[in-house]
C-alpha cells in the first residue's frame, strides 16, 4: 500500500497551512504521510473523530516522547530507529489489496500453515488474500453474531477501543493510562501519542465471561496494526480469559511495533491473558524482522484479585517485553508463565515485574527460554516487595535450554525486598539438549527435528499447560516449527 504522491502533497500543503482547516474532513487518504510530528498526531486523532481530551492526551504524550531517551538497558542490539521513516497511520486494508489467491502467496508461509493444521479458508485470510470475508471462513455468517449476542446478554463489552470511546467513554477515560502511565517508557509513550486501535474489554461485576475471547476474533483483529492499545477491565467478582495473537505467522509490512496492554482487576476479579507472538523474525540474519517493543502491565487493584500472564514468544527479530503485575489489593495474586524461543539471529529480552504492595500478596514466575542458532536471549525480572506488603511471597523459576554452541542465554533477576517477613525464592537452571537424548529418540524412529521439538515441548510443558486447550495444541506444533533448521 503506497500513498500516492498526490495525497502526500495534499497533506503537506495542509500541514504547511498550520491546520487552518484541520484534517477532519478534507483528506481521503489511506495513509498519513511518512514521519512523525504534531500534525500527524492531530491527523490520527481527527481521522478517528476522537474527543478533545484524547487529542490532548496524545499531544502531551508526543511532547514527552520527544524528550525521552531510548531505553538502553536491554541486552538487544539494533541500529538506531529512524522514527521519521515510518507511516503512523494507515486505514484498514481494503479488500483489493493483497494477493488474488493463495497461488500468489509465499510457499514457505503456506507450508507453515499446513504444518499448524490451519484450514484452507483461514489460511487465505491470514495470508491477506483479497475478498475473503471472515464470516465465510467460519462457514456460517451467524458465528460473529452469535458470539456478539452471547456477550451482550451478560453485559460484556468487547469492541475496538475507538468504538468504546463512543459506547463507554467514561470507562476508557478513567482507566486508560492508569496502569501504564503515558511516559512510562519511550515505546509506551510513542504508543500513547499515535496508537491506532486495539481492543477494549469490560466485564461487569459478578460476570464470568461465557467464552474465551479468542478464535473468531484472532482473525478479526489482524489489522489492528503496529501501535495497538488494549484495555481490559474486570469489575468486582468477574472473570475473563483473553487470547491475543495467533500461532500462524503474520504477513506484516510494519517493522516497528509498540503496543500497550493495560489490565485492571477489581475486588475478587480474575484476568487470564494469553499471548502467542509469532511475528516475522526476519531472514536467517534477522533482516526485515519485526521489532516488538511492548509494554504490558496489569493492576490487581482489588482485594483477592488475580492476573495471570501466559506468553509464547517465538517471533520477531527483537522482542522487548515484560508483562507485569502490580499487586495492590490485599491477597492478590500475580502469575507469569513464559516460553521464549529464539532461533537464527533473533534477540529477546523478556521477563516480568511483580510489584508487591498489598498484604499477603503472592506471585509466581515460571520462565522457559530456548535459544538456538546464533540467537541471544535474556530473562529479566524484578520482584519488588514494598514495606507494607506483609507476608508477601514470590516463587521464581527460570530455565534456559541451549541448542547448539553459538547461542546465548542470560538470566538477570532483580530482587528488592523492603519487608523482612517476605519470602522470595529464585531458582534458575541452564541446560542443553544432550546428544544422548537425541540419539535415544532417533533410535526409536523419531527424526532429528521432531526429536528436538519433543524435548523442547517437554521442557516447556509447565507453561504450555497454562494455555487454553485449543491454543495449546497449536502452540506445541509452533514450538517445533520455530526450531526448524536449528540442528544438523
Amino acid at each position: 500500500m503506497v500513498a500516492t504522491a498526490e495525497t502526500v502533497d495534499q497533506v503537506q500543503t495542509i500541514a504547511g497551512e498550520k491546520y487552518k482547516y484541520g484534517f477532519v474532513t478534507d483528506i481521503e487518504s489511506e495513509m498519513a504521510p511518512m514521519g512523525l510530528s504534531e500534525d500527524i498526531v492531530r491527523f490520527i486523532s481527527a481521522k478517528k473523530n476522537e474527543p478533545e481530551w484524547l487529542l490532548e492526551y496524545r499531544l502531551k504524550a508526543y511532547r514527552r516522547w520527544l524528550e525521552m531517551p531510548e531505553p538502553k538497558w536491554a541486552k538487544v542490539d539494533f541500529p538506531q530507529i529512524d522514527y521519521q521513516a515510518y507511516h503512523y497511520y494507515s486505514a484498514p486494508k481494503s479488500a483489493d489489496d493483497g494477493p488474488a489467491s493463495l497461488d500468489e502467496v509465499d510457499p514457505k508461509l503456506l507450508e507453515t500453515y499446513e504444518k499448524l493444521g490451519i484450514p484452507l479458508r483461514e489460511q487465505e485470510l491470514l495470508a491477506g488474500v483479497k475478498n475473503v470475508a471472515v464470516d465465510y471462513v467460519f462457514d456460517s455468517v451467524s458465528v460473529a453474531t452469535t458470539f456478539k449476542k452471547k456477550l451482550e446478554e451478560v453485559g460484556v463489552i468487547f469492541c475496538p477501543i475507538s468504538e468504546a470511546l463512543e459506547r463507554c467513554p467514561d470507562l476508557v477515560r478513567k482507566y486508560m493510562g492508569s496502569v501504564v502511565p503515558m511516559a512510562d517508557n519511550k515505546h509506551a509513550c510513542l504508543n500513547a501519542a499515535v496508537f491506532t486501535d486495539g481492543s477494549f474489554v469490560y466485564i461487569p461485576p459478578g460476570v464470568r465471561c461465557p467464552m474465551e475471547l479468542s478464535t473468531y476474533f484472532r482473525i478479526n483483529e489482524m489489522n489492528t496494526g503496529q501501535f495497538e492499545r488494549t484495555l481490559i477491565i474486570a469489575d468486582k467478582g468477574s472473570y475473563v480469559s483473553y487470547l491475543e495473537g495467533c500461532t500462524a505467522p503474520m504477513r506484516d509490512e510494519n517493522q516497528l511495533h509498540a503496543a500497550v496492554v493495560e489490565l485492571i482487576a477489581l475486588d475478587d476479579a480474575e484476568i487470564k491473558y494469553s499471548t502467542v507472538q509469532n511475528w516475522y523474525p526476519g531472514d536467517e540474519d534477522g533482516k526485515g524482522g519485526i521489532y516488538n517493543f511492548v509494554t504490558k502491565r496489569g493492576a490487581c487493584r482489588g482485594k483477592n484479585s488475580k492476573i495471570s500472564w501466559t506468553q509464547v514468544e517465538t517471533g520477531s527479530a527483537i522482542t522487548w517485553k515484560y508483562p507485569s503485575c502490580i499487586l495492590q489489593g490485599d491477597n492478590s495474586v500475580g502469575e507469569f508463565y513464559s516460553i521464549a524461543i529464539t532461533n537464527n539471529a533473533q534477540q529477546a529480552d523478556t521477563g516480568t515485574k511483580m510489584i508487591h504492595i498489598g498484604k499477603n500478596t503472592t506471585s509466581r514466575i515460571i520462565s522457559k527460554g530456548i535459544s538456538a542458532g546464533k540467537s541471544d536471549q535474556t530473562y529479566r525480572g524484578l520482584v519488588k516487595i514494598s514495606p507494607k506488603a506483609v507476608d508477601a511471597r514470590n516463587y521464581t523459576q527460570c530455565d534456559s535450554l541451549l541448542i547448539g554452541d553459538k547461542c546465548g542465554a542470560h538470566t538477570v533477576p532483580y530482587i528488592e525486598s523492603r519487608n523482612k517477613g517476605a519470602i522470595v525464592e529464585h531458582e534458575a537452571t541452564t541446560s542443553t539438549i544432550s546428544e544422548d537424548q537425541l540419539f535415544y529418540l532417533r533410535q526409536r524412529g523419531i527424526p532429528e527435528e521432531a526429536a528436538v521439538a519433543l524435548v523442547v515441548n517437554g521442557f516447556c510443558r509447565e507453561v504450555l499447560q497454562q494455555l487454553p486447550m485449543e491454543f495449546a495444541v497449536e502452540a506445541q506444533k509452533l514450538v517445533g516449527i520455530s526450531l526448524e533448521g536449528s540442528v544438523g
Binding site: E435, Q437, R444, F459
Partner: protein
Amino acid sequence: MLEIKDLHATVGGTEILKGLTLTIEPGETHAIMGPNGSGKSTLSYVLAGRDGYEVTGGRIIYEGEDLTELNPEERAAKGVFLAFQYPVEIPGVPNSTFLKESVNAVRRYNGEKELDAIKFMKMLRGKTKELGMSDDMLKRAVNVGFSGGEKKRNEVLQMAVLEPKLAILDETDSGLDIDALKIVADGVNALRSPERSSLIITHYQRLLDYIVPDKVHVLAHGKIQRTGGKELAHELEEKGYADFVGEAA
C-alpha cells in the same frame, strides 16, 4: 537377517572393533559375552548408527541392505531396536506421548497410516497388561525418577510396542533383581518368532537362563574369539574370560 563381515570401527580415533564377523539368521537369538572393554557396547552403537562411532572397514548387511548408509531413525523404522544399557531421561514428555510419536514416526516411514489417540492407547494398554506393568508408568515423564528396574522394563515396553525385527539388548540385565530380570526375559521371549531375531549383549550368563540363545559368541579385543551353543555361557561362568583376555594380547 544380519550379516556382519570383518567390521572395523573407531571411537574418537581409537579402533575398538577389529574385524568382527557375525551372522544371525531370521528367528535366531544370539548372545554376545565378553569382558569389560571388549567392544560390546561399541558394537550395539555401531549397529544403531550413533554419531561418533565410525565404521572404518568391513560391512553390515541387514535384510540385504547396507546398514551403514542409513541414519539412526531409518534403521529404527526398518526394525532395528536397541534396548539401552542406560535409558535416557526426557523431562516433561509423558511416556505415552513419546511412544505415540515413536510408533507413528515408524508407521509414517513405512507408508502406513498413523494410529489415532484412541487406537494407540488401546494398543498400548494391551501391551502393558501383557507385560504386567501398571498404566501409571505411561503418564510419567520418560524415565524421569524411574528406578533402575523400571527403566529396563520401560525399554521392554518400547520393544513390545515397536515389535522390531532385530532387537539388540545392551546389558539389559545389569542391575536387575530376579523379578525384573524375568519380566525382561518374558518380554524378549514373547517377541520370538521365525521372522524376528535378537542379539543379547551381556556380561553374565544369568539372563541366558531365561532367554535361551541359539548361539553364544565370545567377544574380546574387538573380535569374536569363539562361538558355541548355550553351553558356552556356562563354561564362561565357571572359567571366566581369562583365556580370551590373554589370547590376543
